[in-house]
Symmetry: C2
Subunit: 231 residues, 2 copies
DNA sequence: TAGCTATCGGATTGGCCTATCCACTTTTGC
DNA sequence: GCAAAAGTGGATAGGCCAATCCGATAGCTA
Protein backbone atom coordinates (compact mmCIF):
# COMPACT_ATOMS: atom_id res chain seq x y z
CA UNK A 1 0.00 0.00 0.00
CA UNK A 2 2.60 2.58 0.95
CA UNK A 3 6.26 1.74 0.61
CA UNK A 4 7.92 3.56 3.41
CA UNK A 5 5.99 5.17 6.16
CA UNK A 6 4.96 2.77 8.75
CA UNK A 7 4.25 4.29 12.03
CA UNK A 8 5.94 6.41 14.53
CA UNK A 9 9.55 6.47 13.36
CA UNK A 10 8.89 8.72 10.45
CA UNK A 11 7.92 8.57 6.82
CA UNK A 12 10.65 6.16 5.69
CA UNK A 13 12.90 5.36 8.57
CA UNK A 14 14.02 2.18 6.85
CA UNK A 15 12.09 0.49 4.07
CA UNK A 16 11.32 -3.11 4.94
CA UNK A 17 12.63 -5.96 2.89
CA UNK A 18 10.04 -7.24 0.45
CA UNK A 19 9.21 -10.44 2.31
CA UNK A 20 9.03 -8.54 5.57
CA UNK A 21 6.63 -6.05 4.08
CA UNK A 22 4.53 -8.92 2.74
CA UNK A 23 4.38 -10.51 6.18
CA UNK A 24 3.51 -7.19 7.70
CA UNK A 25 0.50 -6.91 5.41
CA UNK A 26 -0.48 -10.49 6.14
CA UNK A 27 -0.37 -9.80 9.84
CA UNK A 28 -2.51 -6.71 9.50
CA UNK A 29 -5.04 -8.55 7.36
CA UNK A 30 -5.16 -11.42 9.84
CA UNK A 31 -5.55 -9.01 12.74
CA UNK A 32 -8.42 -7.32 10.96
CA UNK A 33 -10.18 -10.67 10.75
CA UNK A 34 -9.38 -11.86 14.24
CA UNK A 35 -10.09 -8.57 16.01
CA UNK A 36 -13.37 -8.21 14.12
CA UNK A 37 -14.42 -11.63 15.32
CA UNK A 38 -13.03 -11.74 18.86
CA UNK A 39 -12.55 -8.11 19.83
CA UNK A 40 -9.32 -6.60 21.07
CA UNK A 41 -8.97 -9.30 23.69
CA UNK A 42 -7.73 -11.63 20.97
CA UNK A 43 -4.18 -12.74 21.65
CA UNK A 44 -1.16 -11.78 19.62
CA UNK A 45 -0.49 -15.50 19.18
CA UNK A 46 -3.89 -16.08 17.60
CA UNK A 47 -3.24 -13.31 15.11
CA UNK A 48 0.13 -14.82 14.23
CA UNK A 49 -1.51 -18.20 13.76
CA UNK A 50 -4.18 -16.71 11.51
CA UNK A 51 -1.51 -14.88 9.52
CA UNK A 52 0.60 -18.00 9.17
CA UNK A 53 3.70 -16.34 10.55
CA UNK A 54 5.83 -17.17 13.54
CA UNK A 55 5.23 -15.57 16.88
CA UNK A 56 8.61 -13.90 16.70
CA UNK A 57 7.71 -12.17 13.45
CA UNK A 58 4.60 -10.89 15.10
CA UNK A 59 6.46 -9.30 17.99
CA UNK A 60 9.31 -8.04 15.84
CA UNK A 61 6.93 -6.07 13.68
CA UNK A 62 4.51 -5.05 16.44
CA UNK A 63 6.24 -5.13 19.80
CA UNK A 64 3.08 -4.05 21.59
CA UNK A 65 -0.54 -4.69 20.85
CA UNK A 66 -1.12 -0.95 20.69
CA UNK A 67 1.09 -0.69 17.63
CA UNK A 68 -0.88 -3.44 15.96
CA UNK A 69 -4.13 -1.79 16.90
CA UNK A 70 -2.84 1.45 15.46
CA UNK A 71 -1.96 -0.19 12.14
CA UNK A 72 -5.22 -2.10 11.95
CA UNK A 73 -7.74 0.49 13.03
CA UNK A 74 -6.35 3.83 11.97
CA UNK A 75 -7.95 3.51 8.56
CA UNK A 76 -11.21 2.39 10.08
CA UNK A 77 -11.06 5.37 12.37
CA UNK A 78 -10.53 7.39 9.20
CA UNK A 79 -13.76 5.96 7.84
CA UNK A 80 -15.36 6.95 11.11
CA UNK A 81 -14.11 10.51 10.67
CA UNK A 82 -15.44 10.45 7.13
CA UNK A 83 -18.86 9.50 8.44
CA UNK A 84 -18.82 12.67 10.51
CA UNK A 85 -17.81 14.69 7.47
CA UNK A 86 -20.64 13.17 5.46
CA UNK A 87 -23.02 14.03 8.27
CA UNK A 88 -21.79 17.62 8.19
CA UNK A 89 -22.69 17.77 4.51
CA UNK A 90 -26.27 16.81 5.16
CA UNK A 91 -28.50 19.82 4.54
CA UNK A 92 -30.58 18.77 7.53
CA UNK A 93 -28.29 18.87 10.57
CA UNK A 94 -30.53 16.69 12.71
CA UNK A 95 -30.76 14.15 9.95
CA UNK A 96 -27.01 14.20 9.60
CA UNK A 97 -26.56 13.79 13.32
CA UNK A 98 -28.88 10.81 13.52
CA UNK A 99 -27.39 9.21 10.44
CA UNK A 100 -23.94 9.59 11.92
CA UNK A 101 -24.88 7.90 15.17
CA UNK A 102 -26.47 5.02 13.33
CA UNK A 103 -23.49 4.65 11.02
CA UNK A 104 -21.01 4.79 13.88
CA UNK A 105 -22.87 2.24 15.96
CA UNK A 106 -23.25 0.09 12.86
CA UNK A 107 -19.48 0.08 12.51
CA UNK A 108 -19.28 -1.15 16.07
CA UNK A 109 -21.74 -3.92 15.35
CA UNK A 110 -19.83 -5.02 12.28
CA UNK A 111 -16.46 -5.18 14.01
CA UNK A 112 -16.04 -6.19 17.63
CA UNK A 113 -12.53 -4.84 17.64
CA UNK A 114 -13.65 -1.44 16.49
CA UNK A 115 -16.41 -1.50 19.07
CA UNK A 116 -13.66 -1.81 21.65
CA UNK A 117 -11.49 0.85 20.02
CA UNK A 118 -14.29 3.39 20.29
CA UNK A 119 -14.47 2.92 24.04
CA UNK A 120 -10.76 2.79 24.76
CA UNK A 121 -7.82 5.11 24.36
CA UNK A 122 -4.34 4.14 23.20
CA UNK A 123 -1.91 7.00 23.86
CA UNK A 124 0.91 5.44 21.87
CA UNK A 125 -1.24 4.76 18.82
CA UNK A 126 -0.48 8.08 17.24
CA UNK A 127 -2.21 7.75 13.88
CA UNK A 128 -5.32 6.25 15.42
CA UNK A 129 -5.61 8.93 18.08
CA UNK A 130 -4.95 11.62 15.49
CA UNK A 131 -7.88 10.39 13.43
CA UNK A 132 -9.97 10.09 16.54
CA UNK A 133 -9.38 13.68 17.45
CA UNK A 134 -10.11 14.83 13.90
CA UNK A 135 -13.41 13.03 14.14
CA UNK A 136 -14.01 14.59 17.52
CA UNK A 137 -13.48 18.12 16.26
CA UNK A 138 -15.88 17.60 13.38
CA UNK A 139 -18.34 16.03 15.76
CA UNK A 140 -18.39 19.13 17.91
CA UNK A 141 -19.49 21.14 14.89
CA UNK A 142 -22.07 18.52 14.03
CA UNK A 143 -23.51 18.76 17.50
CA UNK A 144 -23.56 22.55 17.45
CA UNK A 145 -25.36 22.57 14.11
CA UNK A 146 -27.91 20.06 15.35
CA UNK A 147 -28.52 22.09 18.48
CA UNK A 148 -28.83 25.27 16.45
CA UNK A 149 -31.79 23.88 14.55
CA UNK A 150 -33.43 23.12 17.86
CA UNK A 151 -33.94 19.45 17.19
CA UNK A 152 -31.12 18.20 19.39
CA UNK A 153 -31.72 18.72 23.09
CA UNK A 154 -29.69 21.55 24.54
CA UNK A 155 -28.19 19.55 27.37
CA UNK A 156 -26.60 17.04 25.06
CA UNK A 157 -22.91 16.77 25.79
CA UNK A 158 -20.22 15.52 23.42
CA UNK A 159 -19.20 12.97 26.01
CA UNK A 160 -22.65 11.45 25.66
CA UNK A 161 -21.51 9.99 22.39
CA UNK A 162 -18.82 8.08 24.21
CA UNK A 163 -21.41 6.79 26.63
CA UNK A 164 -23.58 5.70 23.73
CA UNK A 165 -20.65 3.84 22.24
CA UNK A 166 -19.95 2.14 25.54
CA UNK A 167 -23.57 1.12 25.84
CA UNK A 168 -23.66 -0.07 22.26
CA UNK A 169 -20.45 -2.03 22.77
CA UNK A 170 -22.13 -3.74 25.70
CA UNK A 171 -25.06 -4.76 23.53
CA UNK A 172 -22.93 -5.83 20.60
CA UNK A 173 -20.57 -7.88 22.73
CA UNK A 174 -23.38 -9.52 24.66
CA UNK A 175 -25.57 -10.41 21.71
CA UNK A 176 -22.95 -11.26 19.08
CA UNK A 177 -24.27 -13.42 16.28
CA UNK A 178 -27.23 -14.54 18.35
CA UNK A 179 -29.10 -11.27 17.86
CA UNK A 180 -27.13 -9.30 15.32
CA UNK A 181 -29.67 -6.50 14.97
CA UNK A 182 -30.47 -5.89 18.60
CA UNK A 183 -28.24 -2.81 18.63
CA UNK A 184 -30.50 -1.06 16.13
CA UNK A 185 -33.33 -0.99 18.60
CA UNK A 186 -31.15 0.31 21.38
CA UNK A 187 -29.70 3.02 19.19
CA UNK A 188 -33.16 4.01 18.01
CA UNK A 189 -34.21 4.45 21.62
CA UNK A 190 -31.18 6.61 22.28
CA UNK A 191 -31.86 8.77 19.27
CA UNK A 192 -35.44 9.35 20.28
CA UNK A 193 -34.34 10.40 23.73
CA UNK A 194 -32.01 12.97 22.21
CA UNK A 195 -34.60 14.78 20.17
CA UNK A 196 -35.80 18.11 21.54
CA UNK A 197 -37.78 19.00 23.46
CA UNK A 198 -36.19 17.12 26.30
CA UNK A 199 -38.67 15.21 28.41
CA UNK A 200 -36.84 16.02 31.57
CA UNK A 201 -33.50 16.98 33.02
CA UNK A 202 -30.56 14.61 33.00
CA UNK A 203 -28.03 13.81 35.69
CA UNK A 204 -24.82 15.71 35.08
CA UNK A 205 -22.56 14.42 32.33
CA UNK A 206 -19.55 12.57 33.71
CA UNK A 207 -17.18 15.13 32.24
CA UNK A 208 -14.37 14.55 29.81
CA UNK A 209 -11.52 13.85 32.16
CA UNK A 210 -13.13 10.99 34.06
CA UNK A 211 -14.35 9.46 30.81
CA UNK A 212 -10.92 9.80 29.28
CA UNK A 213 -9.45 8.14 32.32
CA UNK A 214 -11.91 5.30 31.92
CA UNK A 215 -11.03 4.87 28.25
CA UNK A 216 -7.35 4.98 29.09
CA UNK A 217 -7.66 2.37 31.78
CA UNK A 218 -9.57 0.09 29.44
CA UNK A 219 -6.91 0.54 26.79
CA UNK A 220 -4.08 -0.23 29.18
CA UNK A 221 -5.77 -3.42 30.15
CA UNK A 222 -5.68 -4.57 26.56
CA UNK A 223 -1.93 -4.23 26.33
CA UNK A 224 -0.71 -6.64 28.98
CA UNK A 225 -2.58 -8.79 31.46
CA UNK A 226 -1.94 -7.43 34.95
CA UNK A 227 1.60 -8.44 35.98
CA UNK A 228 0.77 -8.67 39.64
CA UNK A 229 -2.53 -7.99 41.29
CA UNK A 230 -3.33 -10.33 44.16
CA UNK A 231 -5.06 -9.09 47.29
CA UNK B 1 -17.29 -39.14 46.30
CA UNK B 2 -19.70 -36.58 47.48
CA UNK B 3 -22.72 -38.36 48.92
CA UNK B 4 -25.23 -35.65 49.46
CA UNK B 5 -24.73 -32.27 48.03
CA UNK B 6 -25.68 -28.96 49.35
CA UNK B 7 -28.03 -26.57 47.71
CA UNK B 8 -29.92 -27.83 44.74
CA UNK B 9 -30.60 -31.29 46.10
CA UNK B 10 -32.48 -30.12 49.09
CA UNK B 11 -32.22 -28.18 52.30
CA UNK B 12 -30.02 -30.62 54.17
CA UNK B 13 -29.16 -33.60 52.05
CA UNK B 14 -26.12 -34.11 54.22
CA UNK B 15 -25.07 -31.54 56.76
CA UNK B 16 -21.50 -30.45 56.22
CA UNK B 17 -18.94 -30.88 58.91
CA UNK B 18 -18.56 -27.68 60.90
CA UNK B 19 -15.21 -26.69 59.43
CA UNK B 20 -16.46 -27.43 55.94
CA UNK B 21 -19.50 -25.28 56.48
CA UNK B 22 -17.32 -22.49 57.82
CA UNK B 23 -15.11 -22.66 54.75
CA UNK B 24 -18.12 -22.69 52.52
CA UNK B 25 -19.30 -19.43 54.02
CA UNK B 26 -15.86 -17.95 53.77
CA UNK B 27 -15.71 -18.85 50.10
CA UNK B 28 -19.08 -17.31 49.39
CA UNK B 29 -18.16 -14.13 51.22
CA UNK B 30 -14.87 -13.91 49.36
CA UNK B 31 -16.59 -14.54 46.05
CA UNK B 32 -19.04 -11.76 46.80
CA UNK B 33 -16.13 -9.37 47.22
CA UNK B 34 -14.08 -10.56 44.28
CA UNK B 35 -16.96 -10.83 41.83
CA UNK B 36 -18.21 -7.40 42.81
CA UNK B 37 -14.81 -5.95 42.08
CA UNK B 38 -13.70 -7.94 39.04
CA UNK B 39 -16.90 -9.28 37.53
CA UNK B 40 -17.60 -12.92 36.78
CA UNK B 41 -14.36 -13.22 34.86
CA UNK B 42 -12.53 -13.46 38.17
CA UNK B 43 -10.77 -16.79 38.54
CA UNK B 44 -11.71 -19.50 40.97
CA UNK B 45 -8.15 -19.34 42.27
CA UNK B 46 -8.44 -15.66 43.11
CA UNK B 47 -11.58 -16.36 45.10
CA UNK B 48 -9.82 -19.15 46.98
CA UNK B 49 -6.92 -16.83 47.71
CA UNK B 50 -9.26 -14.14 49.00
CA UNK B 51 -11.06 -16.71 51.13
CA UNK B 52 -7.83 -18.07 52.53
CA UNK B 53 -8.66 -21.65 51.60
CA UNK B 54 -6.88 -24.08 49.35
CA UNK B 55 -7.74 -24.42 45.70
CA UNK B 56 -8.90 -27.98 46.26
CA UNK B 57 -11.40 -26.85 48.87
CA UNK B 58 -12.74 -24.40 46.37
CA UNK B 59 -13.36 -27.03 43.72
CA UNK B 60 -14.61 -29.64 46.16
CA UNK B 61 -17.33 -27.31 47.33
CA UNK B 62 -18.07 -25.68 43.98
CA UNK B 63 -17.01 -27.97 41.15
CA UNK B 64 -18.10 -25.44 38.54
CA UNK B 65 -18.18 -21.69 38.57
CA UNK B 66 -21.90 -21.81 37.88
CA UNK B 67 -22.50 -23.43 41.25
CA UNK B 68 -20.53 -20.69 42.93
CA UNK B 69 -22.40 -18.05 40.99
CA UNK B 70 -25.64 -19.66 42.05
CA UNK B 71 -24.67 -19.57 45.71
CA UNK B 72 -23.37 -16.01 45.55
CA UNK B 73 -25.99 -14.29 43.45
CA UNK B 74 -29.24 -16.07 44.13
CA UNK B 75 -29.94 -13.81 47.10
CA UNK B 76 -29.01 -10.74 45.12
CA UNK B 77 -31.34 -11.91 42.41
CA UNK B 78 -33.92 -12.22 45.17
CA UNK B 79 -33.34 -8.58 46.01
CA UNK B 80 -33.79 -7.84 42.35
CA UNK B 81 -37.12 -9.65 42.36
CA UNK B 82 -38.07 -7.70 45.46
CA UNK B 83 -37.38 -4.47 43.60
CA UNK B 84 -39.95 -5.52 41.05
CA UNK B 85 -42.42 -6.31 43.80
CA UNK B 86 -41.85 -2.91 45.36
CA UNK B 87 -42.41 -1.30 41.98
CA UNK B 88 -45.69 -3.18 41.65
CA UNK B 89 -46.81 -1.67 44.93
CA UNK B 90 -46.28 1.86 43.69
CA UNK B 91 -49.66 3.52 43.21
CA UNK B 92 -48.29 5.17 40.07
CA UNK B 93 -47.36 2.37 37.67
CA UNK B 94 -45.11 4.56 35.54
CA UNK B 95 -43.33 5.79 38.60
CA UNK B 96 -42.88 2.24 39.78
CA UNK B 97 -41.58 1.19 36.39
CA UNK B 98 -39.02 3.97 36.24
CA UNK B 99 -37.94 3.42 39.82
CA UNK B 100 -37.46 -0.24 39.13
CA UNK B 101 -35.23 0.38 36.11
CA UNK B 102 -33.13 2.81 38.05
CA UNK B 103 -32.83 0.47 41.00
CA UNK B 104 -31.94 -2.49 38.83
CA UNK B 105 -29.30 -0.60 36.89
CA UNK B 106 -27.98 0.78 40.17
CA UNK B 107 -27.50 -2.79 41.36
CA UNK B 108 -25.47 -3.42 38.25
CA UNK B 109 -23.35 -0.36 38.89
CA UNK B 110 -22.70 -1.41 42.47
CA UNK B 111 -21.63 -4.96 41.62
CA UNK B 112 -19.78 -5.86 38.46
CA UNK B 113 -20.55 -9.51 38.99
CA UNK B 114 -24.25 -8.86 39.19
CA UNK B 115 -24.02 -6.67 36.11
CA UNK B 116 -22.74 -9.75 34.32
CA UNK B 117 -25.33 -12.04 35.86
CA UNK B 118 -28.14 -9.90 34.49
CA UNK B 119 -26.85 -10.33 30.95
CA UNK B 120 -26.02 -14.00 31.12
CA UNK B 121 -27.90 -17.21 31.73
CA UNK B 122 -26.71 -20.17 33.79
CA UNK B 123 -28.94 -23.18 33.17
CA UNK B 124 -27.47 -25.23 35.99
CA UNK B 125 -27.82 -22.45 38.56
CA UNK B 126 -31.26 -23.55 39.62
CA UNK B 127 -31.95 -21.18 42.48
CA UNK B 128 -30.64 -18.18 40.61
CA UNK B 129 -32.67 -18.92 37.49
CA UNK B 130 -35.72 -19.59 39.60
CA UNK B 131 -35.45 -16.13 41.14
CA UNK B 132 -34.78 -14.66 37.77
CA UNK B 133 -37.94 -16.11 36.35
CA UNK B 134 -39.95 -14.96 39.36
CA UNK B 135 -38.67 -11.47 38.72
CA UNK B 136 -39.49 -11.83 35.07
CA UNK B 137 -43.10 -12.80 35.73
CA UNK B 138 -43.61 -9.85 38.02
CA UNK B 139 -41.95 -7.62 35.49
CA UNK B 140 -44.45 -8.58 32.84
CA UNK B 141 -47.22 -7.36 35.12
CA UNK B 142 -45.29 -4.20 35.85
CA UNK B 143 -44.96 -3.50 32.14
CA UNK B 144 -48.64 -4.18 31.48
CA UNK B 145 -49.66 -1.84 34.25
CA UNK B 146 -47.37 0.87 32.95
CA UNK B 147 -48.69 0.47 29.46
CA UNK B 148 -52.28 0.53 30.71
CA UNK B 149 -51.81 4.00 32.12
CA UNK B 150 -50.59 5.13 28.73
CA UNK B 151 -47.29 6.45 29.95
CA UNK B 152 -45.16 3.57 28.72
CA UNK B 153 -44.92 3.36 24.95
CA UNK B 154 -47.02 0.56 23.49
CA UNK B 155 -44.21 -1.02 21.50
CA UNK B 156 -42.06 -1.62 24.56
CA UNK B 157 -41.09 -5.26 24.75
CA UNK B 158 -40.01 -7.14 27.87
CA UNK B 159 -36.83 -8.12 26.09
CA UNK B 160 -35.96 -4.43 25.93
CA UNK B 161 -35.11 -4.63 29.60
CA UNK B 162 -32.47 -7.19 28.82
CA UNK B 163 -31.07 -4.89 26.17
CA UNK B 164 -31.00 -2.05 28.65
CA UNK B 165 -29.11 -4.22 31.10
CA UNK B 166 -26.61 -5.19 28.41
CA UNK B 167 -26.12 -1.55 27.50
CA UNK B 168 -25.78 -0.57 31.13
CA UNK B 169 -23.29 -3.36 31.73
CA UNK B 170 -21.25 -1.95 28.88
CA UNK B 171 -21.21 1.48 30.48
CA UNK B 172 -20.51 0.18 33.96
CA UNK B 173 -17.68 -2.08 32.84
CA UNK B 174 -16.12 0.58 30.66
CA UNK B 175 -16.26 3.41 33.16
CA UNK B 176 -15.63 1.55 36.42
CA UNK B 177 -14.38 3.76 39.21
CA UNK B 178 -13.29 6.45 36.79
CA UNK B 179 -16.83 7.71 36.21
CA UNK B 180 -19.00 5.89 38.73
CA UNK B 181 -22.16 7.86 37.96
CA UNK B 182 -22.06 7.83 34.19
CA UNK B 183 -24.65 5.07 34.10
CA UNK B 184 -27.25 7.38 35.64
CA UNK B 185 -27.21 9.63 32.64
CA UNK B 186 -27.49 6.74 30.21
CA UNK B 187 -30.37 5.23 32.12
CA UNK B 188 -32.12 8.58 32.27
CA UNK B 189 -31.90 8.83 28.50
CA UNK B 190 -33.37 5.36 28.15
CA UNK B 191 -36.22 6.15 30.46
CA UNK B 192 -37.10 9.31 28.58
CA UNK B 193 -37.17 7.39 25.33
CA UNK B 194 -39.63 4.93 26.82
CA UNK B 195 -42.23 7.46 27.84
CA UNK B 196 -45.30 7.70 25.65
CA UNK B 197 -46.02 9.06 23.18
CA UNK B 198 -43.33 7.35 21.18
CA UNK B 199 -41.40 9.72 18.96
CA UNK B 200 -41.18 7.21 16.20
CA UNK B 201 -41.28 3.55 15.39
CA UNK B 202 -38.56 1.18 16.54
CA UNK B 203 -36.79 -1.60 14.69
CA UNK B 204 -38.28 -4.96 15.63
CA UNK B 205 -37.31 -6.36 19.01
CA UNK B 206 -34.76 -9.16 18.72
CA UNK B 207 -37.19 -11.66 20.18
CA UNK B 208 -36.74 -13.79 23.26
CA UNK B 209 -35.10 -16.85 21.78
CA UNK B 210 -32.17 -15.07 20.15
CA UNK B 211 -31.63 -12.99 23.25
CA UNK B 212 -31.78 -16.07 25.43
CA UNK B 213 -29.28 -17.74 23.16
CA UNK B 214 -27.01 -14.73 23.54
CA UNK B 215 -27.29 -14.83 27.32
CA UNK B 216 -26.66 -18.54 27.32
CA UNK B 217 -23.58 -18.22 25.18
CA UNK B 218 -22.20 -15.50 27.42
CA UNK B 219 -22.83 -17.66 30.47
CA UNK B 220 -21.14 -20.69 28.96
CA UNK B 221 -18.08 -18.64 28.24
CA UNK B 222 -17.77 -17.83 31.90
CA UNK B 223 -17.61 -21.45 32.95
CA UNK B 224 -14.58 -22.73 31.07
CA UNK B 225 -12.27 -21.06 28.59
CA UNK B 226 -12.86 -22.56 25.15
CA UNK B 227 -11.31 -26.04 25.06
CA UNK B 228 -10.53 -25.88 21.36
CA UNK B 229 -11.32 -23.12 18.96
CA UNK B 230 -8.78 -22.60 16.22
CA UNK B 231 -9.95 -21.52 12.79
C1' DT C 1 -10.10 -40.34 74.89
C1' DA C 2 -9.47 -43.06 70.61
C1' DG C 3 -10.21 -44.17 66.16
C1' DC C 4 -12.57 -43.45 61.95
C1' DT C 5 -13.32 -40.61 58.22
C1' DA C 6 -14.57 -36.25 56.12
C1' DT C 7 -12.02 -32.50 54.91
C1' DC C 8 -7.97 -29.73 53.95
C1' DG C 9 -4.46 -27.60 50.97
C1' DG C 10 -0.03 -27.81 48.60
C1' DA C 11 2.01 -29.93 44.62
C1' DT C 12 1.21 -31.01 40.12
C1' DT C 13 -0.47 -31.47 35.23
C1' DG C 14 -1.63 -29.44 31.03
C1' DG C 15 -3.20 -25.44 28.42
C1' DC C 16 -2.80 -20.78 26.70
C1' DC C 17 -0.60 -16.38 27.01
C1' DT C 18 3.37 -12.71 26.43
C1' DA C 19 7.96 -12.13 25.29
C1' DT C 20 12.87 -13.26 24.09
C1' DC C 21 16.74 -15.90 22.09
C1' DC C 22 19.20 -17.98 18.47
C1' DA C 23 20.36 -21.11 14.58
C1' DC C 24 18.69 -21.20 9.91
C1' DT C 25 16.82 -19.04 5.42
C1' DT C 26 15.79 -15.39 2.15
C1' DT C 27 16.61 -11.06 -0.07
C1' DT C 28 19.50 -7.69 -1.79
C1' DG C 29 23.46 -5.20 -3.69
C1' DC C 30 27.50 -5.83 -6.03
C1' DG D 1 26.45 -15.92 -8.47
C1' DC D 2 27.96 -14.58 -3.68
C1' DA D 3 28.43 -12.73 0.66
C1' DA D 4 26.46 -9.76 4.12
C1' DA D 5 22.51 -8.06 6.04
C1' DA D 6 17.83 -8.62 7.09
C1' DG D 7 14.37 -11.56 8.31
C1' DT D 8 12.23 -16.00 9.92
C1' DG D 9 10.10 -19.28 13.16
C1' DG D 10 10.65 -22.84 16.62
C1' DA D 11 12.13 -23.44 21.29
C1' DT D 12 11.81 -21.65 25.52
C1' DA D 13 11.16 -18.94 29.94
C1' DG D 14 7.82 -17.31 33.18
C1' DG D 15 2.95 -16.30 34.34
C1' DC D 16 -1.91 -17.31 35.16
C1' DC D 17 -5.57 -20.50 34.88
C1' DA D 18 -8.71 -24.93 35.60
C1' DA D 19 -8.59 -29.14 37.58
C1' DT D 20 -6.88 -33.47 40.08
C1' DC D 21 -4.11 -36.30 43.49
C1' DC D 22 -2.71 -37.56 47.94
C1' DG D 23 -0.40 -37.18 52.47
C1' DA D 24 -1.57 -34.54 56.54
C1' DT D 25 -5.14 -32.65 59.58
C1' DA D 26 -9.16 -31.79 62.10
C1' DG D 27 -14.03 -33.00 63.56
C1' DC D 28 -17.19 -36.32 65.04
C1' DT D 29 -18.89 -40.31 67.58
C1' DA D 30 -18.56 -44.08 70.65
Amino acid sequence: MNPGAQHPDGPAAQPLRSDAERNRERIIAAARTVFARDGLSASMASVAREAGVGIATMFRRFPTKEELVDAVFSDRMGAYADAVAVALDDPDPWNGFVGYIEAACGMQAADSGFADVLTMSFPTAKVLEQRRSEAYEAMLRLIDRAKATGRLREDFDPSDLVLIHMANAGVVNATGDAAPDAWRRVVALFVQSLEAPARGPLPAAPGHEPLYKAMLRAGQGTATPPPGKSS
